[in-house]
Symmetry: C2
Subunit: 242 residues, 2 copies
Amino acid sequence: MPPSSTVENYLKEVYLGVGRLPAGATLLPMGQLASALGVAPGTATTMVKALAESGLVDYEPYNGVRLTAAGTRLAATVLRRHRLVELFLVQVMGMRWDEVHDDAEHLEHVVSDRLIDRIDEMLGHPETDPHGDPIPGKEGTIRERHFETLLTCPVGTRVVVARVSDQDPVFLRFVERHGLKPGQVVSVEARDEVADAVQLRGADDATFTLGARAASKLLVDVTPEAAAAATPSSARDAAPRR
Amino acid sequence: MPPSSTVENYLKEVYLGVGRLPAGATLLPMGQLASALGVAPGTATTMVKALAESGLVDYEPYNGVRLTAAGTRLAATVLRRHRLVELFLVQVMGMRWDEVHDDAEHLEHVVSDRLIDRIDEMLGHPETDPHGDPIPGKEGTIRERHFETLLTCPVGTRVVVARVSDQDPVFLRFVERHGLKPGQVVSVEARDEVADAVQLRGADDATFTLGARAASKLLVDVTPEAAAAATPSSARDAAPRR
DNA sequence: ACAGTGATTTTGACTACTCAAAAATACAAG
DNA sequence: CTTGTATTTTTGAGTAGTCAAAATCACTGT
Ligand SMILES: [Mn+2]
Ligand SMILES: [Mn+2]
Ligand SMILES: [Mn+2]
Ligand SMILES: [Mn+2]
C-alpha cells in the first residue's frame, strides 16, 4: 500500500529529469530516465506504464513521461526526506557534504513522518540542503528559484554560489577546495569562449580557471542583496543557508 | 550481493527466537519463526532452505533452524544497527523509548557502516539500548548477561531493572509509569502463586501489583553492586545505561 | 519517397519473495 | 499397533522488478 522504494525512485528521477530538460520541453525521454535509474530501457518502459496506470505519471509512448499532480506530490515528499536527511547528516552528524548523498539515497525511503518532522524541527525548518537544493514543504510544495550559472552570469560582479548541481564526491571536494560552496562569494573575471573556460576570483582573492562544463554546474545568485548578505571575506567554510 | 532486508530479518529473528527457547533447546521450530516474521509457514520453510544453502543457518527438517557462525555474525550486525539506532533516536532525537522500535526496524537495513560508527561514537560506545538489550560489538560479538526476572528474583531485596523483554508501546509506557525502566530500583514485597501475582515496592515507596506474565518480562540485576550503583531514591526518570 | 540510424517498445525469461491449500510427517493417546 | 491432531513441507500460483535481444517506430538526410 505505501509506495515501494522503486516507485519512489522512479518518481523522484522523473521530477529531477524533467527539471534538467531544455527550455520548453516537459516530457522526459525514456532513455534518460532509464540511464538515470541505471536500468535497461525496456525496464523503464514497463515500469512507467504501471505508474501511468496508477495515475502517478502521464506517459506518451515514444515521447516520454511527466508527473501528474499526485506524482509530483509524492516526488516532493521523497525529495524532502532526501534533502532533510542530507542536511541532518552534515549539520548534526558532522559528515562531509560530499559523502551524505549515498546515505540519503537509502534513508529517504525509510525515515518515518515522525522522524522527518523531528529532523526538520531540529534543523529549524531549513529551506535548502547542503548542496543548495531547495527542501520541499511538508505538503509537497516546491519553490524552485531560478539562478544564473558561472557560465551565464555577469562578468566582474560579486555573485554568491547558491547551488551545486552535481553530487559526485570528487567534484564536490573540488568545489569546496576552491571556496565555491553555497553561500560563498566569487566573481567572474573573464570568459574565453574559444578556450571554453571561465576565469574566477574567489573570496581569498586568488584566481583560478574552470571549464565551461564545470562552470555550468555552479548556480549563482546575482542579486546585490545576496552579495551583501554573504560572509564578507573570512569565508573559509561555507555559510549555512537560510 | 549485500544481504537483502528479508535475509537480515530472518537471521535476526532466528537469533532472537533461539534465545527465547526453553532451556536446553537450540533449534527454533519453523512455526515460531514464521509467526515472528508474520509470514506463512511454507514461506519460512522455503526461505530457510535457501539460507541453509548459503551457509547462514543449519536446518533440520521437521526439527527447526539454528544460526551458523556466519549467520550469527550477520545477525549480530543487524542487531547492533537496530539497537544503536534505537538509542540514538532516544538520546539524540529525543523520541520516547516506546516509539523507537518501529523506526529502527526499517533503519537497521539501510544505515551505512560509516553512519553507524558515527552514531556509536556519538553515544560513547554504549553497551545497551533503551530497553536494556545488549548492543553487539563491531565485530559481531554479543555478550548476553543472564538475569533473574521479577518472578524469580529473591523477595525483599532491592534489585535493579536491567532489561525489558517486550517492545509493545502500551506495555513500555506502563513500565515507565511504574518506575520500572532499566536502571531503576524495585523490590519484590511478596509473591502469591495462587493469585499469579507479584507485590512490588518502587523507588518512591509506593507498592503495586504485577501479574506473573508481566513480571517475567522484567529482567533484573540482583547483585548488591548494581543496587548500590543505581540512582539512590530520586529516580524519577531512568538512569542512562552504560 | 526511402533507407539508415538511434531510440523505444515488446517479448520471453529469470530472481526473490510470498500465499493458500494439499500432502506428508511427527507424536501422543488409546 | 492405530488413529487423531498439530506441525511442517510441498505444490502451484502470483506479484514486483529486472534483463537481453528482437521488433518497431521516429526522424534525418538524400
Ligand atoms: Mn543527494
Ligand atoms: Mn543534495
Ligand atoms: Mn527494537
Ligand atoms: Mn530495543
